[in-house]
């Protein structure tokens, strides 16, 4: 799906991703994790890659196969410079009265695999949950 760069559409994205995560038979906990991380990643795109500016587009694609559930989030904004990123410390953040700084940490904690890529003007975040492939026995 594609949404405009506004947090107004986060809920719609969560619903979309949850529907597919359930359809893909992910365990309830994994569904929650995917939902939250996609929210965090889209929030970051809207607030950082697009600097909170409306009128841009955020693309969300989902890939489901036998072993994994992957959500790809694409934008045309500012790339995420991970060299300047450091792990957050909740005590310090609250002492400083910060209202953020946990999103990337949450994504890393809850997803099995996270990739940030920039090619040309397109930034892509890939969030993956692996799943047990005890689907059907071969035979």
């Amino acid at each position: 799906m594609a949404i405009p760069s506004s947090t107004r559409f986060l809920r719609k994205v969560r619903k979309f991703v949850v529907r597919h995560a359930i359809a893909a038979d992910l365990p309830e906990k994994a569904v929650e994790h995917v939902k939250m991380c996609v929210d965090e990643a889209c929030t970051n795109v809207i607030e950082h890659a697009y600097d909170g500016e409306a009128g841009h587009e955020v693309d969300i694609a989902i890939i489901i196969d036998a072993s994994r559930f992957t959500v790809c989030i694409r934008d045309h904004g500012r790339p995420f410079d991970r060299s300047t990123y450091s792990e957050p410390n909740l005590v310090e953040l609250t002492k400083a009265g910060k209202s953020g700084g946990l999103g990337v940490h949450i994504i890393r904690r809850l997803m099995d695999h996270v990739e940030y890529q920039t090619q040309g003007h397109v930034n892509e975040i890939r969030l993956t949950k692996y799943r047990n492939t005890n689907d059907v026995p071969i035979g």
Partner: protein, 117 residues
């Protein structure tokens, strides 16, 4: 916002904020406004009741992070009560139980305020 609202309810000297719906980067400003209102009213003893809060993202957590120092400096506190398990897990994942009183019921939170008198 449609999918998030804050109910106000004064219990003696404690302001209870009852959250309902989903708290994300879009709706966080509503909670921010609610706590700002408490501050404007000089009301620093705050309980956030999460019985009807179905979802929280880091933007929601951020509101608690932003205000807690200030509220405590004024002799008050923000205590968190009645979270749904899924929502509690998010607070827990980020280490909030070390910094905040997170209790099972609103009454427990009231009780903690009373003990602190």
């Amino acid at each position: 916002m449609g999918n998030f609202s804050v109910g106000f309810n004064l219990r003696d000297t404690v302001q209870v904020l009852s959250l309902k719906g989903e708290l994300d980067a879009h709706t966080a400003s509503e909670l921010e406004a609610a706590i700002q209102k408490c501050k404007d009213d000089g009301q620093y003893r705050i309980i956030v009741n999460g019985a009807n809060l179905h979802y929280i993202s880091s933007a929601g957590l951020g509101v608690f992070m932003a205000f807690i120092e200030e509220v405590r400096n004024e002799g008050g506190d923000i205590k968190i009560a009645a979270l749904q398990p899924k929502v509690f897990n998010v607070f827990d994942l980020l280490g909030f139980p070390l910094l905040f009183n997170i209790v099972d019921t609103e009454d427990e939170a009231i009780h903690l305020f009373e003990k602190q008198n």
